[in-house]
Amino acid sequence: MIEVRGLSKIFGDKVVLRDVSARFEPARTSLIIGASGSGKTVLMKCMVGLMQPSSGQVLYDGVVDFVSLPESERRKIRQQIGMLFQGSALFDSMNVEQNVMFPLTMFTNMTLKEKLHRVNECLERVNLSNTNRLMPSELSGGMKKRVGIARAIVMNPRFLFCDEPNSGLDPQTAIRIDELIREITLEYRITTIINTHDLNSVIGIGDYVIFLYKGRKEWEGDKHTVLRSDNQALNEFVFASRYFREIRDQLVG
Protein backbone atom coordinates (compact mmCIF):
# COMPACT_ATOMS: atom_id res chain seq x y z
CA MET A 1 0.00 0.00 0.00
CA ILE A 2 1.21 3.50 -0.83
CA GLU A 3 -0.19 6.61 0.77
CA VAL A 4 0.44 10.16 -0.38
CA ARG A 5 -0.18 12.90 2.19
CA GLY A 6 -0.35 16.59 1.34
CA LEU A 7 2.14 16.39 -1.50
CA SER A 8 3.11 19.71 -3.12
CA LYS A 9 5.72 20.56 -5.72
CA ILE A 10 6.76 24.06 -6.68
CA PHE A 11 9.12 24.96 -9.55
CA GLY A 12 10.30 28.54 -9.02
CA ASP A 13 7.04 30.44 -8.56
CA LYS A 14 4.93 27.84 -10.38
CA VAL A 15 2.91 25.45 -8.24
CA VAL A 16 2.70 22.15 -10.13
CA LEU A 17 1.19 20.01 -7.34
CA ARG A 18 -1.01 21.37 -4.55
CA ASP A 19 -1.60 19.36 -1.40
CA VAL A 20 -2.39 16.04 -3.13
CA SER A 21 -3.42 13.13 -0.91
CA ALA A 22 -4.39 9.62 -2.03
CA ARG A 23 -4.22 6.00 -0.93
CA PHE A 24 -3.25 3.24 -3.38
CA GLU A 25 -4.16 -0.30 -2.29
CA PRO A 26 -2.53 -3.62 -3.30
CA ALA A 27 -4.09 -5.84 -5.96
CA ARG A 28 -5.84 -2.86 -7.51
CA THR A 29 -5.01 -0.89 -10.63
CA SER A 30 -5.03 2.73 -9.53
CA LEU A 31 -5.09 5.37 -12.24
CA ILE A 32 -3.96 8.98 -12.12
CA ILE A 33 -5.72 10.86 -14.89
CA GLY A 34 -5.67 14.44 -16.04
CA ALA A 35 -4.89 16.65 -19.00
CA SER A 36 -1.32 17.29 -20.16
CA GLY A 37 0.42 19.58 -17.68
CA SER A 38 -1.93 18.70 -14.82
CA GLY A 39 0.92 17.26 -12.73
CA LYS A 40 0.49 13.50 -13.27
CA THR A 41 4.10 12.76 -14.17
CA VAL A 42 5.43 15.08 -11.45
CA LEU A 43 3.25 13.29 -8.87
CA MET A 44 4.57 9.90 -10.00
CA LYS A 45 8.17 11.08 -10.04
CA CYS A 46 7.75 12.50 -6.51
CA MET A 47 6.29 9.18 -5.37
CA VAL A 48 9.28 7.17 -6.62
CA GLY A 49 11.86 9.76 -5.58
CA LEU A 50 12.99 10.87 -9.04
CA MET A 51 11.86 14.34 -7.92
CA GLN A 52 11.95 15.81 -4.44
CA PRO A 53 8.53 17.20 -3.42
CA SER A 54 8.42 20.68 -1.86
CA SER A 55 6.28 19.34 1.00
CA GLY A 56 4.25 16.30 1.99
CA GLN A 57 4.85 12.62 2.64
CA VAL A 58 4.92 9.41 0.60
CA LEU A 59 4.35 6.39 2.84
CA TYR A 60 5.20 2.90 1.65
CA ASP A 61 3.24 0.30 3.66
CA GLY A 62 2.01 3.13 5.86
CA VAL A 63 5.28 3.55 7.74
CA VAL A 64 8.31 4.49 5.65
CA ASP A 65 8.27 8.16 4.59
CA PHE A 66 10.12 7.80 1.30
CA VAL A 67 10.58 11.57 0.94
CA SER A 68 12.72 11.94 4.05
CA LEU A 69 14.92 8.89 3.39
CA PRO A 70 18.53 9.33 2.27
CA GLU A 71 19.34 8.17 -1.28
CA SER A 72 21.02 4.95 -0.08
CA GLU A 73 17.85 3.91 1.80
CA ARG A 74 15.66 4.87 -1.13
CA ARG A 75 17.66 2.54 -3.38
CA LYS A 76 16.78 -0.39 -1.10
CA ILE A 77 13.05 0.36 -1.37
CA ARG A 78 13.35 0.87 -5.11
CA GLN A 79 14.41 -2.75 -5.45
CA GLN A 80 10.78 -3.56 -4.53
CA ILE A 81 9.47 -1.16 -7.18
CA GLY A 82 9.01 -1.90 -10.86
CA MET A 83 8.50 0.94 -13.28
CA LEU A 84 7.32 1.01 -16.86
CA PHE A 85 8.38 4.22 -18.57
CA GLN A 86 6.50 6.08 -21.28
CA GLY A 87 9.18 5.30 -23.88
CA SER A 88 9.92 1.89 -22.31
CA ALA A 89 13.50 3.04 -21.45
CA LEU A 90 15.10 -0.23 -22.54
CA PHE A 91 18.90 -0.15 -22.53
CA ASP A 92 19.96 0.28 -26.16
CA SER A 93 23.24 -1.59 -25.75
CA MET A 94 21.57 -4.75 -24.37
CA ASN A 95 19.32 -7.31 -26.04
CA VAL A 96 15.89 -8.28 -24.66
CA GLU A 97 17.30 -11.04 -22.45
CA GLN A 98 20.05 -8.81 -21.01
CA ASN A 99 17.56 -6.01 -20.38
CA VAL A 100 15.22 -8.26 -18.39
CA MET A 101 18.09 -10.03 -16.65
CA PHE A 102 19.81 -6.80 -15.61
CA PRO A 103 18.06 -6.31 -12.21
CA LEU A 104 18.61 -9.99 -11.35
CA THR A 105 22.33 -9.70 -12.06
CA MET A 106 22.61 -6.49 -10.07
CA PHE A 107 20.70 -7.50 -6.97
CA THR A 108 20.57 -11.29 -6.61
CA ASN A 109 23.01 -14.14 -6.22
CA MET A 110 21.11 -16.35 -8.69
CA THR A 111 23.09 -18.61 -11.00
CA LEU A 112 22.95 -17.96 -14.73
CA LYS A 113 20.61 -20.94 -15.17
CA GLU A 114 18.23 -19.59 -12.52
CA LYS A 115 18.32 -16.12 -14.03
CA LEU A 116 17.62 -17.44 -17.53
CA HIS A 117 14.71 -19.46 -16.17
CA ARG A 118 13.22 -16.38 -14.51
CA VAL A 119 13.78 -14.20 -17.58
CA ASN A 120 12.08 -16.74 -19.85
CA GLU A 121 9.23 -17.03 -17.34
CA CYS A 122 8.66 -13.26 -17.45
CA LEU A 123 9.00 -13.04 -21.23
CA GLU A 124 6.49 -15.86 -21.57
CA ARG A 125 4.16 -13.99 -19.19
CA VAL A 126 4.15 -10.99 -21.54
CA ASN A 127 3.83 -13.24 -24.63
CA LEU A 128 7.34 -12.57 -25.89
CA SER A 129 8.92 -16.03 -25.87
CA ASN A 130 11.87 -16.52 -28.22
CA THR A 131 12.68 -12.83 -28.51
CA ASN A 132 15.69 -13.09 -26.17
CA ARG A 133 18.31 -12.16 -28.75
CA LEU A 134 16.49 -9.21 -30.32
CA MET A 135 17.83 -5.70 -29.73
CA PRO A 136 15.46 -2.88 -28.65
CA SER A 137 15.84 -1.25 -32.09
CA GLU A 138 14.33 -4.40 -33.65
CA LEU A 139 11.14 -4.27 -31.54
CA SER A 140 7.80 -2.61 -32.26
CA GLY A 141 6.33 -0.08 -29.80
CA GLY A 142 4.04 -2.66 -28.23
CA MET A 143 6.84 -5.22 -27.90
CA LYS A 144 9.05 -2.63 -26.22
CA LYS A 145 6.30 -1.93 -23.68
CA ARG A 146 5.95 -5.64 -22.99
CA VAL A 147 9.71 -6.06 -22.52
CA GLY A 148 9.49 -3.05 -20.18
CA ILE A 149 6.78 -4.83 -18.21
CA ALA A 150 8.82 -8.05 -18.11
CA ARG A 151 11.81 -6.10 -16.77
CA ALA A 152 9.60 -4.32 -14.25
CA ILE A 153 8.19 -7.58 -12.81
CA VAL A 154 11.32 -9.74 -12.97
CA MET A 155 12.24 -8.96 -9.34
CA ASN A 156 8.69 -9.73 -8.13
CA PRO A 157 8.06 -6.10 -7.16
CA ARG A 158 5.45 -5.14 -4.59
CA PHE A 159 4.82 -1.80 -6.28
CA LEU A 160 4.43 -1.16 -10.01
CA PHE A 161 4.39 2.31 -11.57
CA CYS A 162 3.41 2.77 -15.21
CA ASP A 163 3.84 6.14 -16.90
CA GLU A 164 1.54 6.45 -19.92
CA PRO A 165 1.77 2.73 -20.81
CA ASN A 166 -0.49 3.16 -23.84
CA SER A 167 1.03 6.22 -25.45
CA GLY A 168 1.89 5.70 -29.09
CA LEU A 169 0.12 2.34 -29.33
CA ASP A 170 -2.81 1.33 -31.51
CA PRO A 171 -6.10 0.75 -29.60
CA GLN A 172 -5.92 -3.06 -29.72
CA THR A 173 -2.33 -3.22 -28.49
CA ALA A 174 -3.17 -0.61 -25.83
CA ILE A 175 -6.02 -2.76 -24.52
CA ARG A 176 -3.74 -5.84 -24.45
CA ILE A 177 -1.15 -3.90 -22.44
CA ASP A 178 -3.88 -2.74 -20.02
CA GLU A 179 -5.15 -6.29 -19.58
CA LEU A 180 -1.64 -7.57 -19.03
CA ILE A 181 -0.96 -4.98 -16.33
CA ARG A 182 -4.25 -5.82 -14.64
CA GLU A 183 -3.60 -9.58 -14.75
CA ILE A 184 -0.13 -9.13 -13.27
CA THR A 185 -1.50 -6.81 -10.58
CA LEU A 186 -4.05 -9.37 -9.45
CA GLU A 187 -1.77 -12.39 -9.87
CA TYR A 188 1.07 -11.00 -7.71
CA ARG A 189 -1.08 -8.67 -5.55
CA ILE A 190 0.98 -5.66 -6.62
CA THR A 191 0.13 -2.05 -5.76
CA THR A 192 -0.11 -0.69 -9.29
CA ILE A 193 -0.29 3.00 -10.15
CA ILE A 194 -0.80 4.08 -13.74
CA ASN A 195 -0.51 7.56 -15.24
CA THR A 196 -2.77 7.90 -18.22
CA HIS A 197 -5.14 10.08 -20.16
CA ASP A 198 -6.53 7.13 -22.12
CA LEU A 199 -10.22 6.82 -21.29
CA ASN A 200 -10.30 3.22 -22.53
CA SER A 201 -7.87 2.40 -19.71
CA VAL A 202 -9.98 4.32 -17.20
CA ILE A 203 -13.13 2.44 -18.09
CA GLY A 204 -11.34 -0.89 -18.57
CA ILE A 205 -9.07 -1.22 -15.54
CA GLY A 206 -9.74 1.78 -13.26
CA ASP A 207 -10.29 0.14 -9.86
CA TYR A 208 -9.38 3.47 -8.26
CA VAL A 209 -9.11 6.71 -10.20
CA ILE A 210 -7.90 10.13 -9.14
CA PHE A 211 -8.31 13.13 -11.42
CA LEU A 212 -5.71 15.90 -11.26
CA TYR A 213 -6.68 19.37 -12.41
CA LYS A 214 -4.16 22.22 -12.35
CA GLY A 215 -2.07 20.32 -9.80
CA ARG A 216 -4.96 19.63 -7.41
CA LYS A 217 -6.77 16.37 -6.79
CA GLU A 218 -10.11 17.42 -8.21
CA TRP A 219 -11.94 14.10 -7.98
CA GLU A 220 -11.54 10.47 -6.93
CA GLY A 221 -13.64 7.42 -7.65
CA ASP A 222 -13.55 4.37 -9.91
CA LYS A 223 -14.41 3.23 -13.43
CA HIS A 224 -18.08 2.90 -12.49
CA THR A 225 -18.50 6.43 -11.20
CA VAL A 226 -16.21 8.34 -13.57
CA LEU A 227 -18.85 8.61 -16.30
CA ARG A 228 -21.60 9.69 -13.92
CA SER A 229 -19.76 12.34 -11.96
CA ASP A 230 -21.13 15.88 -11.80
CA ASN A 231 -17.66 17.38 -11.40
CA GLN A 232 -17.41 19.98 -14.16
CA ALA A 233 -13.63 19.78 -14.70
CA LEU A 234 -13.75 15.97 -14.83
CA ASN A 235 -16.64 16.02 -17.27
CA GLU A 236 -14.82 18.47 -19.52
CA PHE A 237 -11.84 16.08 -19.54
CA VAL A 238 -13.78 12.82 -19.92
CA PHE A 239 -16.32 14.08 -22.43
CA ALA A 240 -13.95 16.20 -24.46
CA SER A 241 -14.80 14.25 -27.60
CA ARG A 242 -18.21 14.27 -29.25
CA TYR A 243 -18.19 10.45 -29.24
CA PHE A 244 -17.97 10.26 -25.46
CA ARG A 245 -20.59 13.00 -25.06
CA GLU A 246 -22.97 10.88 -27.14
CA ILE A 247 -22.27 7.86 -24.92
CA ARG A 248 -23.03 9.97 -21.84
CA ASP A 249 -26.26 11.25 -23.36
CA GLN A 250 -27.31 7.68 -24.11
CA LEU A 251 -26.47 6.60 -20.55
CA VAL A 252 -28.29 9.52 -18.96
CA GLY A 253 -31.13 9.58 -21.48
Binding site: R78, G87, A89, F91, L104, T105, M106, F107, N109
Partner: protein
Amino acid sequence: MHLGKRSIYWNETLRQCVDIGVGSLVIVIIFSLFLGAVLTVQTAYQFTTPLLSRSIIGSIVTNTAIIEMAPTVTCLILAGKIGSSIASELGTMRITEQIDALEMMGVNSAAFLVLPKIIAGTFMVPLLVMISGFLQIWMGLVVGVITDVLSAEEFMQGSIQYFIPFTVTFALIKATTFGFIIASVASYLGYYTSGGALEVGRSATQAVVASCMLILLWDYLLAQMLL
Protein backbone atom coordinates in the same frame (compact mmCIF):
# COMPACT_ATOMS: atom_id res chain seq x y z
CA MET B 1 28.70 -6.34 -3.81
CA HIS B 2 27.13 -9.32 -5.60
CA LEU B 3 29.37 -11.33 -7.91
CA GLY B 4 26.99 -10.63 -10.78
CA LYS B 5 26.99 -6.91 -10.02
CA ARG B 6 30.80 -6.93 -10.13
CA SER B 7 30.75 -8.72 -13.46
CA ILE B 8 28.30 -6.16 -14.90
CA TYR B 9 30.60 -3.29 -13.87
CA TRP B 10 33.61 -5.18 -15.29
CA ASN B 11 31.80 -5.93 -18.57
CA GLU B 12 30.71 -2.31 -18.89
CA THR B 13 34.31 -1.14 -18.34
CA LEU B 14 35.56 -3.59 -20.98
CA ARG B 15 32.85 -2.45 -23.40
CA GLN B 16 33.96 1.15 -22.91
CA CYS B 17 37.62 0.16 -23.40
CA VAL B 18 36.70 -1.46 -26.71
CA ASP B 19 34.55 1.51 -27.73
CA ILE B 20 37.20 4.06 -26.89
CA GLY B 21 40.32 2.08 -27.79
CA VAL B 22 39.42 -0.08 -30.76
CA GLY B 23 36.76 2.37 -31.93
CA SER B 24 39.33 5.17 -32.25
CA LEU B 25 42.15 3.10 -33.70
CA VAL B 26 41.44 3.74 -37.39
CA ILE B 27 41.25 7.52 -37.06
CA VAL B 28 44.42 7.54 -34.91
CA ILE B 29 46.31 5.42 -37.46
CA ILE B 30 45.28 7.56 -40.46
CA PHE B 31 45.91 10.83 -38.65
CA SER B 32 49.28 9.70 -37.27
CA LEU B 33 50.63 8.44 -40.62
CA PHE B 34 49.83 11.73 -42.36
CA LEU B 35 51.11 13.83 -39.47
CA GLY B 36 54.42 11.88 -39.41
CA ALA B 37 54.83 12.41 -43.16
CA VAL B 38 54.09 16.13 -42.92
CA LEU B 39 56.47 16.54 -39.98
CA THR B 40 59.42 15.17 -41.96
CA VAL B 41 58.64 17.10 -45.16
CA GLN B 42 58.15 20.43 -43.38
CA THR B 43 61.16 20.00 -41.09
CA ALA B 44 63.35 19.15 -44.09
CA TYR B 45 62.02 22.24 -45.88
CA GLN B 46 63.18 24.47 -42.99
CA PHE B 47 66.65 22.86 -42.68
CA THR B 48 68.11 23.20 -46.12
CA THR B 49 71.43 24.64 -44.93
CA PRO B 50 74.50 22.42 -45.50
CA LEU B 51 75.88 23.62 -42.12
CA LEU B 52 73.56 21.27 -40.24
CA SER B 53 73.67 17.51 -40.35
CA ARG B 54 70.56 16.01 -41.96
CA SER B 55 70.21 13.70 -38.98
CA ILE B 56 68.85 16.71 -37.06
CA ILE B 57 65.59 16.17 -39.03
CA GLY B 58 65.19 12.74 -37.41
CA SER B 59 65.80 14.27 -34.00
CA ILE B 60 63.23 17.04 -34.48
CA VAL B 61 60.57 14.71 -35.90
CA THR B 62 61.06 12.20 -33.07
CA ASN B 63 61.01 14.74 -30.25
CA THR B 64 58.12 16.74 -31.67
CA ALA B 65 56.10 13.56 -32.15
CA ILE B 66 56.77 12.31 -28.62
CA ILE B 67 56.43 15.58 -26.70
CA GLU B 68 53.60 17.37 -28.51
CA MET B 69 52.09 15.77 -31.58
CA ALA B 70 51.30 12.35 -30.18
CA PRO B 71 49.87 13.37 -26.78
CA THR B 72 48.36 16.79 -27.45
CA VAL B 73 47.27 16.80 -31.08
CA THR B 74 46.08 13.18 -30.93
CA CYS B 75 44.06 13.99 -27.81
CA LEU B 76 42.50 17.00 -29.50
CA ILE B 77 41.36 14.66 -32.27
CA LEU B 78 40.18 12.12 -29.68
CA ALA B 79 38.26 14.85 -27.82
CA GLY B 80 36.15 15.17 -30.96
CA LYS B 81 35.70 11.45 -31.48
CA ILE B 82 35.37 10.15 -27.90
CA GLY B 83 33.99 13.29 -26.23
CA SER B 84 31.06 13.68 -28.60
CA SER B 85 30.35 9.94 -28.48
CA ILE B 86 30.25 9.79 -24.66
CA ALA B 87 28.22 12.99 -24.29
CA SER B 88 25.65 11.96 -26.89
CA GLU B 89 25.37 8.41 -25.51
CA LEU B 90 24.69 9.65 -21.97
CA GLY B 91 22.53 12.53 -23.18
CA THR B 92 20.35 10.15 -25.18
CA MET B 93 20.11 7.81 -22.19
CA ARG B 94 18.99 10.77 -20.08
CA ILE B 95 16.28 12.04 -22.43
CA THR B 96 14.96 8.53 -23.17
CA GLU B 97 14.66 7.90 -19.40
CA GLN B 98 17.21 5.06 -19.41
CA ILE B 99 19.09 6.79 -16.58
CA ASP B 100 15.82 7.17 -14.63
CA ALA B 101 15.21 3.45 -15.23
CA LEU B 102 18.58 2.62 -13.65
CA GLU B 103 17.82 4.86 -10.66
CA MET B 104 14.40 3.22 -10.31
CA MET B 105 16.04 -0.20 -10.12
CA GLY B 106 18.14 1.05 -7.23
CA VAL B 107 21.32 1.34 -9.31
CA ASN B 108 23.70 4.24 -8.73
CA SER B 109 23.51 5.44 -12.33
CA ALA B 110 26.48 7.80 -12.12
CA ALA B 111 28.75 5.05 -10.79
CA PHE B 112 27.47 2.52 -13.31
CA LEU B 113 27.62 4.74 -16.39
CA VAL B 114 30.30 7.33 -15.72
CA LEU B 115 32.99 5.42 -13.80
CA PRO B 116 33.65 2.80 -16.54
CA LYS B 117 33.97 5.59 -19.11
CA ILE B 118 36.49 7.51 -17.01
CA ILE B 119 38.51 4.36 -16.29
CA ALA B 120 38.45 3.38 -19.97
CA GLY B 121 39.38 6.91 -21.10
CA THR B 122 42.24 7.17 -18.61
CA PHE B 123 43.73 3.80 -19.64
CA MET B 124 43.00 3.63 -23.37
CA VAL B 125 44.00 7.15 -24.42
CA PRO B 126 47.67 6.67 -23.36
CA LEU B 127 47.73 3.43 -25.39
CA LEU B 128 46.38 5.26 -28.43
CA VAL B 129 48.94 8.03 -27.88
CA MET B 130 51.78 5.47 -27.78
CA ILE B 131 50.56 3.94 -31.05
CA SER B 132 50.25 7.41 -32.56
CA GLY B 133 53.78 8.40 -31.50
CA PHE B 134 55.27 5.23 -32.92
CA LEU B 135 53.41 5.58 -36.23
CA GLN B 136 54.34 9.26 -36.60
CA ILE B 137 58.05 8.52 -36.15
CA TRP B 138 57.90 5.47 -38.44
CA MET B 139 56.06 7.37 -41.18
CA GLY B 140 58.48 10.28 -40.77
CA LEU B 141 61.35 7.89 -41.42
CA VAL B 142 59.64 6.21 -44.39
CA VAL B 143 58.77 9.53 -46.06
CA GLY B 144 62.29 10.85 -45.39
CA VAL B 145 63.77 7.86 -47.23
CA ILE B 146 61.20 7.81 -50.07
CA THR B 147 61.60 11.53 -50.82
CA ASP B 148 65.38 11.21 -50.52
CA VAL B 149 65.56 13.83 -47.77
CA LEU B 150 67.71 11.63 -45.57
CA SER B 151 68.62 7.96 -45.17
CA ALA B 152 67.14 5.64 -42.59
CA GLU B 153 70.50 5.54 -40.79
CA GLU B 154 70.65 9.33 -40.59
CA PHE B 155 67.08 9.49 -39.27
CA MET B 156 67.77 6.83 -36.61
CA GLN B 157 71.07 8.43 -35.66
CA GLY B 158 69.35 11.78 -35.07
CA SER B 159 66.49 10.17 -33.19
CA ILE B 160 68.79 8.30 -30.81
CA GLN B 161 71.44 11.01 -30.40
CA TYR B 162 69.10 13.64 -29.00
CA PHE B 163 66.58 11.32 -27.38
CA ILE B 164 65.62 12.25 -23.77
CA PRO B 165 63.91 9.28 -22.03
CA PHE B 166 61.88 11.57 -19.74
CA THR B 167 59.95 12.86 -22.78
CA VAL B 168 58.22 9.48 -23.02
CA THR B 169 57.19 9.66 -19.34
CA PHE B 170 56.06 13.26 -19.89
CA ALA B 171 54.00 12.23 -22.93
CA LEU B 172 52.31 9.45 -20.96
CA ILE B 173 51.53 11.81 -18.06
CA LYS B 174 49.95 14.20 -20.55
CA ALA B 175 48.01 11.43 -22.29
CA THR B 176 46.64 10.09 -19.00
CA THR B 177 45.60 13.58 -17.90
CA PHE B 178 43.97 14.35 -21.24
CA GLY B 179 42.20 10.96 -21.31
CA PHE B 180 40.72 11.70 -17.90
CA ILE B 181 39.68 15.21 -19.02
CA ILE B 182 37.98 13.97 -22.21
CA ALA B 183 36.02 11.19 -20.46
CA SER B 184 35.02 13.14 -17.36
CA VAL B 185 34.01 16.40 -19.09
CA ALA B 186 31.96 14.54 -21.71
CA SER B 187 30.37 12.30 -19.07
CA TYR B 188 29.41 15.27 -16.91
CA LEU B 189 27.85 17.23 -19.78
CA GLY B 190 26.07 14.15 -21.18
CA TYR B 191 24.78 12.94 -17.80
CA TYR B 192 23.23 16.30 -16.96
CA THR B 193 21.60 16.85 -20.36
CA SER B 194 17.98 17.90 -20.17
CA GLY B 195 15.49 18.51 -22.94
CA GLY B 196 15.46 16.75 -26.30
CA ALA B 197 17.55 15.86 -29.34
CA LEU B 198 18.70 19.46 -29.78
CA GLU B 199 20.14 19.53 -26.26
CA VAL B 200 21.92 16.20 -26.83
CA GLY B 201 23.66 17.74 -29.85
CA ARG B 202 24.46 20.82 -27.82
CA SER B 203 25.97 18.73 -25.02
CA ALA B 204 28.13 16.85 -27.51
CA THR B 205 29.42 20.11 -28.99
CA GLN B 206 30.05 21.60 -25.55
CA ALA B 207 31.91 18.45 -24.53
CA VAL B 208 34.29 18.73 -27.49
CA VAL B 209 34.88 22.47 -27.04
CA ALA B 210 35.37 22.25 -23.25
CA SER B 211 37.67 19.22 -23.53
CA CYS B 212 39.83 20.94 -26.16
CA MET B 213 40.14 24.09 -24.06
CA LEU B 214 41.08 22.12 -20.96
CA ILE B 215 43.58 19.99 -22.92
CA LEU B 216 45.34 23.13 -24.18
CA LEU B 217 45.33 24.67 -20.70
CA TRP B 218 46.72 21.53 -19.05
CA ASP B 219 49.23 21.10 -21.89
CA TYR B 220 50.75 24.42 -20.87
CA LEU B 221 50.45 23.78 -17.11
CA LEU B 222 52.11 20.35 -17.32
CA ALA B 223 54.92 21.68 -19.51
CA GLN B 224 55.49 24.49 -17.03
CA MET B 225 55.44 22.14 -14.04
CA LEU B 226 57.36 19.13 -15.36
CA LEU B 227 59.90 20.40 -17.88
